[in-house]
């Protein structure tokens, strides 16, 4: 463990402010990931002729997308102005980029889900409708479109958190997108295992196990490099949520490998993985909030950075006086 560093503060008050976000935001992160992963499950099902996987994936993707959009809008200070997100396209704002990703994903996912609904309700699976010959092409286009937007949708939510002054979120930026896409794959694979017969679910099982391995591995790397701001990942409510998430992820993946072909255990494993994915998002968000509320996580890493830079400046100044090349100059020569 890093020793407790001494630091001064203004009456122990926080320096940066925590984001004014409620539980809607981690819920949005989870549902967005679930929607993205499910769109990939559906696209794979459509391209490999797994009809049930295709239908369920598309409906889950649309449902999760609806839930995440609702969560996002209801957390705004002025929900009636949600459409102001569409006033501009701004590359420096992950939330602006995310809004456009969400819109693009929504358009294709909406068409894909509509296609499934019509197949269910129209007589003769809609084969007698006008332009029915175009249907397979439309299905394929919807799959490609939703698949195209799915990866950005799952990965950008990590960017959303990391592009802030919130110490734990920013310090985690290298690994967090891998944690989140792994979590999204595990959630989507797990949800497919819950909803779809085991006969069509082999790809979903592989996706779930692969996602769980990616999430767990990336999170272990994250914990190793993050330094002082990583303390909040192990403390309090965030620590408990993340510990439970890890146990459910590993347990769910193991159960998938062992009993994924038997429906009851597949359902249990799928539920464990989806729950774990939600807990991961709630835990990471909570850990960031705690790091913003404590000046320790703002001051100590910045003091360390300053000390390192000043030590380097002193070395450079000394080498200037003595005429000897500095360590940096030597490194550049090498």
């Amino acid at each position: 463990m890093v020793p407790e560093a001494q630091f001064a503060s203004y009456y122990g008050r926080n320096i940066v402010k925590p984001a004014p976000w409620g539980h809607e935001i981690p819920a949005y992160l989870f549902l967005g990931g679930l929607a993205a992963g499910s769109a990939l499950v559906a696209a794979g099902g459509e391209m490999t002729g797994r009809r049930e996987l295709q239908r369920n994936g598309r409906l889950i993707a649309l449902g999760a997308l609806g839930g995440s959009t609702y969560a996002l809008i209801s957390d705004l200070g002025k929900p009636s102005r949600f459409h102001h997100m569409m006033r501009t396209v701004k590359l420096t704002s992950p939330m602006s980029i995310g809004s456009w990703i969400l819109a693009g994903f929504g358009a294709f996912t909406g068409v894909a889900a509509l296609s499934e609904v019509v197949k269910e309700v129209a007589p003769n699976q809609g084969r007698d409708l006008p332009m029915a010959w175009f249907w397979p092409y439309g299905d394929r286009l919807a799959s490609i479109g939703a698949g195209f937007f799915s990866a950005p949708l799952a990965a950008y939510t990590a960017v959303l958190l990391s592009d802030t002054a919130t110490p734990t979120w920013h310090a985690a930026y290298r690994e967090l997108p891998f944690v989140f896409v792994g979590s999204a794959l595990a959630a989507a694979g797990g949800t497919a295992m819950v909803t779809t017969t085991t006969r069509e679910c082999a790809p979903a099982r592989r996706m779930a196990v692969g996602g769980a391995i990616l999430e767990t591995g990336a999170f272990a790397l994250l914990e190793r490099q993050i330094g002082v701001p990583g303390e909040t990942l192990h403390r309090g409510r965030a620590g408990r949520l993340l510990k439970l998430a890890k146990a459910l992820t590993i347990g769910g993946a193991a159960l998938t490998v062992v009993g994924g072909r038997w429906r009851p255990s597949a359902v249990a494993a799928g539920l464990a993985l989806a729950t774990a994915s939600a807990l991961t998002r709630f835990g990471v968000v909570e850990a960031g909030m705690e790091s913003a509320k404590d000046p320790r996580y703002t001051v100590v890493p910045q003091k360390q950075r300053l000390a390192a830079r000043r030590a380097q400046a002193a070395i450079d100044a000394a080498s200037e006086i003595t005429g000897l090349p500095s360590a940096q100059a030597l490194a550049e020569q090498a």
Partner: protein
Amino acid sequence: MSLWRNQLSGPTDPARDAGWVDPPPRQGFFTDTSICIGCKACEVACKEWNQLPMDRLGMTGASYDNSIGLGASTWRHVAFVEQTTERIAAARESGRALIALGMPGLRPGAMDLAAAESAALAALATGTLPDFRWLIASDVCKHCTHAACLDVCPTGSLFRSEFGTVVVQDEICNGCGYCVAACPFGVIERREDAGAGTISGVASAGSSGRAATSAPTGIAAKCTLCYDRLHVGAPPACAQACPTTSIQFGDLDLMRRRATERVEALHAKGFTEARLYGADPNDGIGGTGSIFLLLDEPEVYGLPPDPVVTTHDLPDIFRKAGYAGLTMLVGAALSFLGRRDS
């Protein structure tokens, strides 16, 4: 790529970067905390001019500070710190270490530091200097050269004015709160309610007329550097009200020059604890539009010691997310390869 980089960090003219053609000189504050007397005229003048609702009332137990910190309805905040000899000596020492590194713009050998300092120490020993001091500082939005709040705002509500300042447009902001999390100084805040708040249960006089101003709620708010007053050539309300010229306002170049002169003058008198904050255009935010002269480490005043705008790392953040996204697509594709269902 260098243009893109310059937009995210390093010294630059933010008004021109934002597309203003032939803008006026960049405007800014120089807050000299060494002559602040803690009268809070700046806090009051700011509230009056900008018609900000009362947000807190009561005692905090933190010396004479009763506004706690900058927020949606507190755009000037006066900090009070009470220090004894030990801490004063530490501040003097940390300041001397900075001077030894050649900061801020001090020419080594330009003055006899040792003599000046021993004179100050002698004064302390003979009781002509007190063994106790106040640190009093009026904090405000930094109007950063690279402003994280502005960078991350998804609606375009936050914009760069022709004066190089950063301003929220009330009627555009949809209250997403992203700027709140992005600000490295914890300045901007979402106003949750326009009524009067309380501190630890102290009842407020919120029913009086002023508390019920029409301040909009649910949106982000912060110092505008009195954008309305600048348009008619008037100084910001806080600078106008300051009785000691602790808050100075004008062309940022002039503010930087005055700040450097002032810190050199203080050093010459042996006050090695004096240092500038935000005056270096090569710092993590490209320098601030509000420069401070401090008498101790920034964190003592509740300021971050080495702020870096979060978007400085954004290209790398996006790159990592891109790799993660590709990993996801490849992983999903691999899941569907291999043998058929059993």
